[in-house]
């Protein structure tokens, strides 16, 4: 049976490198993707992921299990770094290629799908940060509203309303894209 994140964290704080590697391997993906969707920049996502786990090494003792999971703790650190970066550097390098996995369908279908996904990715990245983070966490990373409220430091109701508003903006952006494509 695999160890919980909390157990791994406790072990790594005692100097267990294997526990750190296991925890990193388990949680770097969500942290990296969160940073990537928020900044739409591969170098920034890498930097933020590094900063998050460095912070865990240095200040992992600040984790309080009564206030959420280890993952929400990591998302919280990532969010702080993301917001600082967005504020500091509004011009970020665009992601040129993320999706390299074509499905088994026809080439045209694949291209259309890739194009659609890329457009959704652009639309998400163009959301105001306050809505973007709610959409990225809840819709892309499958974080519960309760956990999102801890990460975003706001009530659950606020998470819901930000998510709803974010989806409405997306709906508008994506609908315009479909119209443009059809014209």
């Amino acid at each position: 049976m695999s160890e919980t994140d909390e157990t791994l964290l406790a072990q790594m704080l005692k100097g267990d490198e294997v526990a750190f590697t296991e925890l990193y391997g388990r949680r770097q993906g969500p942290v990296y993707r969160f940073a990537l969707h928020m900044t739409r920049s591969v170098p920034s996502a890498e930097d933020i992921t590094q900063d998050v786990f460095l912070a865990l090494i240095e200040s992992g003792r600040r984790f309080d299990a009564s206030r959420g999971t280890v993952l929400s703790f990591l998302f919280g650190i990532a969010r702080n770094h993301v917001l600082r970066r967005i504020e500091k550097d509004s011009r970020t390098e665009l992601v040129t290629e993320i999706d390299e996995h074509l499905s088994d369908g026809s080439l045209m279908e694949d291209l259309t799908k890739r194009e659609t996904i890329e457009h959704v990715r652009c639309a998400v990245a163009s959301l105001p940060p306050v809505y973007r983070e709610a959409v990225v966490l809840c819709d892309l990373e499958d974080v519960s509203y309760e956990e999102a409220s801890i990460i975003l430091e706001c009530p659950v109701g606020t998470v819901r309303s930000r998510l709803s508003r974010g989806r409405l903006i997306l709906m508008d952006k994506l609908a315009r894209h479909v119209v443009r494509k059809c014209v």
């Binding site: 790594m12 100097g15 490198e17 750190f20 590697t21 990193y24 391997g25 770097q28 993906g29 942290v31 990296y32 993707r33 990537l36 969707h37 996502a45 890498e46 992921t49 590094q50 786990f53 460095l54 090494i57 240095e58 993320i98 999706d99 996995h101 799908k113 659609t116 996904i117 959704v120 990715r121 998400v124 959409v135 819709d139 892309l140 990373e141 499958d142 989806r167 997306l170 709906m171 994506l174 609908a175 479909v178």
Partner: protein, 188 residues
């Protein structure tokens, strides 16, 4: 477009990016940093008393052994000591990395018998933190197991932990070891 359609598109995006992850070299960098952090931490956590205890114990054992072994001319049974040298705080705290064997304050037959070697010393590692004011003290040359180097944070390979190494121990006026430095001999 409906809310369900937007959610569907977001699900597609989530699936497409599900395998996105940080590059492998990042893990290597972080593991390196993890090791460095815990080395620093274990060094700091030794604190005021814990650090001197193992070092002081070894050093006092060495000195005690030597008290009963006169004259202390050569190393034997893992412990040797030279004539105590009284030094001032300025001398003791001056950083030094290399010096010719001829400048050592007391004659050391075992060292000087090899005329083509040069004595190379490390910096002093404090054995008390914080250290009380230091006015005068004695510098003693002793031979200790290499494991003592590990205690002060120097890297020693496992297979060399029992090897003898020479060290200069700075003894304060109150008779407690204040600092230690290690000595090697390099062929010129």
């Amino acid at each position: 477009m409906t809310d369900d359609a937007v959610r569907g598109l977001l699900r597609e995006l989530a699936e497409a990016d599900a395998s996105a992850k940080a590059p492998p070299e990042l893990e290597l960098r972080l593991r390196k940093e993890f090791r460095a952090h815990h080395r620093r931490k274990s060094w700091r956590s030794l604190g005021f008393w814990v650090l001197p205890v193992p070092v002081a114990a070894v050093i006092f054992l060495a000195i005690l052994t030597l008290v009963h072994r006169r004259p202390p001319t050569e190393s034997a049974n893992g412990v040797s000591i030279n004539t105590p040298v009284t030094i001032s705080s300025e001398q003791a705290l001056r950083p030094e990395t290399s010096r010719p064997a001829a400048t050592t304050p007391a004659p050391r037959a075992s060292v000087l018998s090899a005329p083509e070697t040069e004595e190379v010393v490390t910096e002093f590692f404090p054995l008390m933190d914080p250290a009380p004011p230091f006015q005068r003290g004695q510098l003693l040359r002793v031979e200790l197991p290499a494991s003592v180097m590990q205690i002060v944070g120097l890297p020693v390979r496992e297979e060399h932990l029992a090897d003898p190494v020479q060290a200069d121990v700075l003894i304060g006026e109150e008779g407690l070891p204040r600092a230690i430095r290690f000595v090697t001999f390099e062929v010129r």
